[in-house]
C-alpha cells in the first residue's frame, strides 16, 4: 500500500471521526427517519394498519 493511499485513508478516517463527533454532539443522524418538516397536518394519510390483518384468520 503506497503512502498516498495511507495518507488518504488517514485523512478520510480523521474526517469521519470529526464528522461523527459533530453529529453526536448536535444529535444529528446521518440518515433520518421519514419526517416532514414545517408542514401543516392535512389529514390526508393512508392507514398502514391493514396489511398484517389479511395474513391471519
Amino acid at each position: 500500500m503506497n503512502t498516498i493511499v495511507k495518507c488518504l485513508y488517514v485523512f478520510v478516517g480523521i474526517t469521519i471521526v470529526g464528522f461523527y463527533s459533530y453529529s453526536a454532539y448536535y444529535g444529528r443522524a446521518l440518515w433520518e427517519d421519514p419526517v416532514q418538516k414545517n408542514t401543516e397536518y392535512k389529514g390526508n394519510r393512508v392507514y398502514g394498519g391493514y396489511g398484517n390483518r389479511f395474513n391471519h384468520k
Partner: protein, 434 residues
C-alpha cells in the same frame, strides 16, 4: 568437515583434475572432501589429499549468477561462494543452490527458484534448530508455528565447486514447513531410522543478494509466480489498515463515551394521552390531542420518540407533530402500531408490536408540545402513550462509521486471502482445499 573457527578465509589452492587436467581452485582446501571439475564435470574425492574421480555430473544447465570464490556479507556474516549446484524434483522443476562458506561457522546455502531467493542456515548458525517440535502437519520452532507445505525428494543434477560430503550418495526425503518469510526444511535419509536435520531459510529480495556480493541486480532472473515462503506485501497492508481502522473506531467510542457522560440521555416527555373516537371525521378517525408543553434544554439534540398503545388484534396509527412554541417549526411523523395474536393448530401466535419509535435529528432547544392525530380500527381505543428521550446514542451513525472505515481493511483482507490461496495452490497441504 568444512574448516571452521578461523579468523579469516583459508588460502585458496589449486589442484589438477585427474581426468581432464584442468585446474580446479579450492577455497577451503583442508575442509573440502569432494569437488567437481567445472570443465569435464568429474566428481572428485580427495583421498590422502589426492583427487580421485569417483563419478561425474551432468553439465550445468545455467551459468552461476554468483561466481565461485565471490565474497559477500549477507545478514552480517561474511561468506565465500564455494559451490554451485543444480537440483530438481522428478525432472518436473529445478532450482539452483550456492554453497556459502564462512570461516567461523561453516556452511550456509543460497537457493534460487523462479527468481526467488532464500538464505538457508543449519544448526551451525541456529542451534535452536535441534529443538524443533512436531505437530500434525506443522512444526514449532522458536515459538512460531510452521505449516507443512511440501514433501519431495531432491536430485542433484550438476555441481561446480567443492563441499565436505559426498552429495552423490545423498538421497533425501525433504519436508518443507512455512511461516513466511521463513521456511524450515526437514531433511531425512531414506533409511527408516536415519537422523533428521533441520534448516531454516529466509526469503530475500534479489537486490539484497546483489548488494551482498557486489553484483548488478539487473542480471538476476525475473521473479515469476509465488513461492512457498514469499512474504505477502498485502499482509502488511491488511495489518496496517486494520490497525488504523481500529484506532479510528476507538476514537469514535471515546468521543461517544465522553458525550454519554457530559450530555447524558434524559426523558423529556412521557405522557399517556386520552383518545376519543370522532365519527364525524370519518371511519377510524379520532379527535386530535394536544399534549402538555415540555422543554428541551440542550442546544441541539436527537429525540427518540416512542409511541405505545395497548392494541390487541387491532391497529392504531397516529400522526404526531412536534411543534416549537416559539418559532412554530414543526416535525411531523406518522407511525402505527399493530398487534395480533391467536391460537392456530393448538399453538399461540403473536405478530406485530404494541410500540414503535422514530428518531428526530438535530432538534434545537426550546419549548415544545405535540399535536397528535390518532386513528384506529377500533372506536374503543382510548389511550396511547408517547415517550421522548433526548440525547440517545445514535447507533446508526456508529454503524455508518464502522462500515466506511472497514472498506479499506476489507479490500486488503480479500487481497491477502487471494495471495494466500495462490501461494497454497502450489501445495498438497493447502488449508484452502478443506
Amino acid at each position: 568437515m568444512a574448516t571452521v573457527s578461523l579468523s579469516s578465509f583459508p588460502q585458496k589452492e589449486t589442484v589438477e583434475c585427474p581426468h581432464c587436467h584442468s585446474s580446479i581452485v579450492l577455497y577451503d582446501p583442508r575442509g573440502s572432501e569432494f569437488c567437481a571439475c567445472s570443465f569435464c564435470q568429474s566428481h572428485l574425492q580427495f583421498i590422502d589429499e589426492v583427487p580421485k574421480k569417483v563419478g561425474s555430473f551432468s553439465a550445468p544447465r545455467s551459468k552461476a549468477l554468483i561466481p565461485l570464490g565471490a565474497e559477500g556479507v549477507l545478514k552480517g556474516t561474511t561468506f565465500k561462494v564455494i559451490a554451485f549446484l543444480e537440483k530438481e524434483e522428478n525432472a518436473q522443476y529445478g532450482w539452483r543452490e550456492y554453497l556459502l562458506y564462512n570461516y567461523e561457522k561453516g556452511y550456509a546455502t543460497l537457493s534460487e527458484f523462479d527468481g526467488h531467493w532464500n538464505v538457508i542456515y543449519g544448526n551451525n548458525f541456529l542451534p535452536k534448530l535441534d529443538k524443533v517440535l512436531y505437530g500434525n502437519d506443522y512444526i514449532m520452532y522458536d515459538d512460531v508455528e510452521y505449516r507443512l507445505f511440501h514433501k519431495y525428494n531432491p536430485k542433484v543434477v550438476s555441481l561446480s565447486g567443492e563441499l565436505d560430503w559426498d552429495i552423490k550418495k545423498e538421497f533425501l526425503q525433504v519436508s518443507e514447513f512455512i511461516a513466511p518469510p521463513f521456511i524450515i526444511s526437514r531433511e531425512k535419509g531414506r533409511e527408516k531410522h536415519s537422523h533428521a536435520d533441520h534448516y531454516r531459510g529466509e526469503y530475500l529480495e534479489p537486490k539484497e543478494i546483489a548488494a551482498a556480493f557486489g553484483l548488478d541486480p539487473a542480471g538476476f532472473p525475473p521473479q515469476t509466480g509465488i513461492v512457498s515462503n514469499q512474504p505477502s506485501a498485502t499482509g502488511d497492508q491488511w495489518l496496517w489498515s486494520f490497525r488504523a481502522a481500529l484506532l479510528m473506531l476507538l476514537a469514535i467510542f471515546v468521543v461517544q463515551f465522553f458525550l454519554v457522560v457530559t450530555k447524558p440521555e434524559k426523558v423529556v416527555f412521557n405522557e399517556s394521552l386520552e383518545l376519543a373516537y370522532d365519527p364525524q371525521k370519518g371511519v377510524n378517525e379520532f379527535k386530535p390531542v394536544m399534549s402538555p408543553s415540555f422543554e428541551l434544554m440542550d442546544e441541539s439534540a436527537s429525540l427518540d420518540l416512542e409511541m405505545t398503545a395497548s392494541v390487541t388484534n387491532n391497529w392504531l396509527e397516529a400522526t404526531i407533530v412536534l411543534v416549537n412554541e416559539k418559532t412554530n417549526q414543526t416535525w411531523e411523523v406518522t407511525k402505527g402500531v399493530e398487534f395480533y395474536e391467536g391460537v392456530e393448530g393448538g399453538e399461540h401466535w403473536t405478530e406485530g408490536s404494541r410500540s414503535t419509535a422514530v428518531l428526530l435529528s438535530e432538534i434545537p432547544a426550546g419549548t415544545y408540545h405535540l399535536n397528535v392525530y390518532p386513528a384506529s380500527d377500533s372506536p374503543l381505543s382510548n389511550s396511547m402513550s408517547v415517550k421522548i428521550t433526548a440525547n440517545e446514542v445514535i447507533w446508526r451513525n456508529i454503524f455508518a462509521a464502522l462500515i466506511v472505515l472497514s472498506i479499506l481493511p476489507l479490500i486488503a483482507f480479500v487481497r491477502v486471502r487471494h495471495f494466500e490461496q495462490k501461494r497454497w495452490s502450489n501445495s498438497n497441504y493447502s488449508p484452502y482445499n478443506q
